[in-house]
């Protein structure tokens, strides 16, 4: 009866090799998404109509189409336009561009929580819009958004399994190979799922630590 359990324990070291690629894809695309979101956010929040419409259009486009379709377009579609990407790069780009849309919305709702007086205070002190964004808006928005951003990272870890479709050998793809050798789909995929679960729970734990670390001092008293 316990044989499947031993089998699962046996294959976990094999699978962990794929986990590194999974983490690389999710962390790189998260970083790319964050960089783009930080660039898009001021357009969404401050900019006049043509630019803010662009930012909104971006968000709508990437949220309104399936990530898998975006991946397929990036890898199989772009070569028709003369852009050939290797599978790994295509994954990081597609997942990063997609995540930028979500991260931008996360940050935007965090900005909404900043009292309007803070914007007025910054303006009345003579801050430029760029300075207001850099010193007042962004640092507060990032702090408030820590839980939601970690949540987004957890989502990316899971979504990076789509990279297996393009043949990138990450955790899920490793599992597929093992199934092909062993024909034991139940145990292998259960092991794969367990590894995802372990990583994601670790990240959620880290979120609590980060939340406490980045919490604005004194804030807990006000919200209590």
């Amino acid at each position: 009866m316990s044989e499947p359990l031993f089998f699962i324990l046996d294959i976990i070291p094999d699978l962990v090799g794929g986990l590194w690629t999974t983490l690389q894809i999710s962390l790189s695309s998260f970083a790319l998404g964050m960089a783009l979101a930080v660039a898009l956010l001021p357009l969404r929040v401050f900019a006049p109509p043509p630019l803010s419409a662009f930012a909104r259009g971006y968000v709508e486009l990437f949220r309104g189409t399936p990530l898998l379709v975006q991946l397929l377009l990036m890898y199989f579609g772009l070569p028709s336009l003369g852009v050939k990407l290797d599978a790994y790069t295509a994954c990081v780009l597609a997942i990063g561009l997609n995540s930028a849309a979500y991260q931008c919305e996360i940050l935007r709702s965090a900005v909404k929580g900043i009292p309007e007086i803070q914007f007025l205070a910054a303006e009345s002190l003579g801050f430029s819009t760029a300075q207001t964004y850099r010193y007042v808006v962004l640092p507060q928005a990032l702090r408030v958004a820590v839980p939601a951003l970690v949540n987004e990272l957890v989502t990316l870890v899971k979504e990076s399994s789509l990279a297996s479709v393009l043949g990138v050998v990450e955790l899920t793809r490793r599992g597929e190979y093992l199934v092909a050798y062993t024909f034991r789909a139940l145990e292998v995929y259960a092991a794969v799922a367990l590894i995802y679960l372990a990583v994601c729970s670790l990240m959620s734990q880290a979120a609590r630590y980060l939340e406490a670390k980045f919490r604005i001092p004194g804030y807990e008293r006000v919200s209590a």
Binding site: I117, S124, L125, G126, I216, P217, G218
Partner: protein
């Protein structure tokens, strides 16, 4: 007559179709302290916000220290850096220490070197008896202490005119006093000030002039004793009775 730091002529402004200011005329001389009083919704806050163009006037003229604020070509950052603005609350940036709140505007706007900015910030904190809070965060301070830091921050920019928008009205009564004492101290230093407040005691102690506003215009103006003890219009009388009795009606938070 002293040189005016601020000249407001025929000022009109509003939010959408709702006109809040209907032709305000006001003068603040150099070193003069003018208190603006009036019932809720009379346009006091809007008047202050127009002066730094946080609200764009629809008509009229504002001249601040020689700068035509109402002109479309005015350098708004320059005008704003010339004034100090203290709001009812949430003035300070909560994610920075008190010290950083004071030094950032000096460094970012006035291009003062970091060391020098810190020296000046510590100096004013000492003056205000707040130096022990330099490395604390705003939300760890009481509302009164926060307001005093906000006043310190405004003063550090060495404004030609200090604008205060009901700086004590969001505070508990026991915290108001320390803020008012600080303001009286500041007033003694000869800084030009335009203050919207309902604090009669402050007006008596520190104002050179009181302007009573109602319904978007200044209805009466004069020295504190004259206005407070012998108001001419019926409206002014009613308003003064009302604030004496402290029966302020509840107010919508932002636009007062």
């Amino acid at each position: 007559m002293r040189d005016p730091v601020l000249l407001v002529e025929g000022l009109r402004a509003g939010y959408g179709k709702h006109e809040v200011l209907r032709g305000v005329n006001l003068r603040v001389g150099k070193g003069e302290r003018v208190v603006v009083m009036g019932p809720s919704g009379s346009g006091k806050s809007t008047l202050l916000k127009c002066i730094v163009r946080l609200v764009k006037p629809t008509a009229g003229r504002i001249v601040l220290d020689g700068d035509e604020v109402t002109s479309d070509h005015v350098d708004l950052r320059r005008v704003r850096a010339k004034t100090g603005f203290v709001f009812q609350q949430y003035n300070l940036f909560p994610h920075m220490t008190v010290l950083r709140n004071l030094t950032l505007p000096l460094e970012a706007v006035k291009k003062v070197p970091k060391k020098e900015a810190e020296r000046r910030a510590m100096e004013i904190l000492r003056e205000f008896g707040l130096e022990e809070f330099a490395h604390r965060y705003p939300l760890q301070l009481s509302g009164g202490q926060q307001q005093r830091v906000a006043i310190a921050r405004a003063l550090l920019m060495d404004p030609v005119l200090l604008l205060l928008d009901e700086p004590t009205s969001a505070l508990d009564p026991e915290l108001r006093l320390e803020v008012l004492e600080t303001l009286v101290e500041v007033a003694k230093q000869g800084r030009s000030m335009l203050i919207v407040t309902h604090e009669l005691d402050f007006a008596k102690a520190a104002a050179d002039r009181i302007a009573l506003m109602d319904n978007g215009v200044i209805v009466e103006e004069g020295g504190p004793s004259e206005i407070l003890s012998n108001p001419k219009s019926e409206r002014a009388r009613r308003f003064l009775v009302e604030i004496e009795a402290r029966i302020e009606r509840p107010r919508a938070p932002a636009k007062g």
